[in-house]
């Protein structure tokens, strides 16, 4: 059995679905954030797989790798800001449970 694009796309789709399930089921804000990162990483796999399977002059399309470089950078910035917001939330509400964060400023 040869490796096909389908294999990689399916793994990526399954990983995305797992992340989606985590976002819907979990209540801890930190874990929800981790599942979001999982979904982002799964989408990255799709990008790399497409670039590897669509060769340009016999080489993978390196523009996809550059795009991935940017995505990883932005994800790192996003995680830093998101975690700072979670810490600020914990300071005021003393919890990271999303079901207990049900009021705005009061």
């Amino acid at each position: 059995m040869d490796l096909t694009l389908n294999h990689f796309l399916f793994v990526s789709g399954a990983l995305f679905a797992i992340g989606l399930a985590g976002v819907l089921v979990r209540r801890n804000l930190l874990v929800i954030f981790m599942c979001l990162e999982l979904m982002l990483a799964a989408a990255n796999l799709t990008l790399v797989a497409f670039s590897r399977f669509n060769l340009v002059d016999g080489q993978p399309a390196y523009d996809a790798h550059v795009l991935l470089f940017f995505i990883i950078t932005v994800a790192a910035a996003e995680v830093a800001v998101g975690l700072a917001i979670i810490v600020a939330l914990f300071r005021t509400k003393e919890t990271t449970d999303v079901t207990k964060v049900n009021t705005m400023k009061y």
């Binding site: 789709g13 399930a21 979990r26 590897r52 399977f53």
Partner: protein
């Protein structure tokens, strides 16, 4: 090749399931590291060496250390068992099943998705992918690199402002 693919795909998926299933946030974070390592191996299997390395360094290294640090800083407790989980579990199951069915339907349509891994031609003068990506980054994509630099600066300043005791 196929065996390694199955191994690493299983690693990534089992790690992902671990994130969703583990009620202790620290275990979830470690499952996440496992998942990212599997994913990085898949990247390397797709000849994306730089991206695979970045995935390990940035995601499994920096980002997960940040997560673990915050988990320990906040002293997050284990999630207690939910009393009426049925509705949200059923909803999540329905959404995920619908998504997976959609993925399988799209993948079964055929087209170019079914072909096997094409052979990469040896690059001229033995340039590595790091070399090529570097040329693209500081040649074609020089402006986005500057923008990303500004974005990182803005994120740093934003995090410092957010972490202050009193927002004024």
């Amino acid at each position: 090749m196929t065996f390694l693919f199955c191994l690493f795909a299983a690693l990534a998926l089992i790690g992902g399931i671990g994130v969703v299933v583990c009620r202790n946030p620290v275990s979830a974070a470690f499952s996440m590291i496992l998942s990212f390592l599997g994913l990085a191996s898949l990247f390397i299997q797709l000849d994306a060496f730089l991206v695979g390395t970045l995935q390990v360094l940035v995601y499994a290294g920096a980002i997960m250390v940040l997560f673990l640090f915050i988990i320990m800083l906040l002293d997050v407790q284990e999630e207690e068992k939910r009393r009426f989980p049925l509705i949200s579990f059923a909803g999540a199951g329905a959404v995920v099943t619908a998504f997976l069915v959609l993925v399988i339907l799209v993948l079964n349509r055929g087209g170019t998705a079914g072909r096997s891994l094409p052979v990469v031609a040896p690059s001229e003068s033995g340039q590595s992918d790091v070399h090529r990506i570097g040329e693209l980054l500081f040649g074609t994509y020089w402006f986005p690199v500057q923008i990303v630099g500004v974005l990182l600066l803005a994120a740093t300043v934003g995090v410092v402002v957010l972490s202050k005791k009193e927002l004024k």
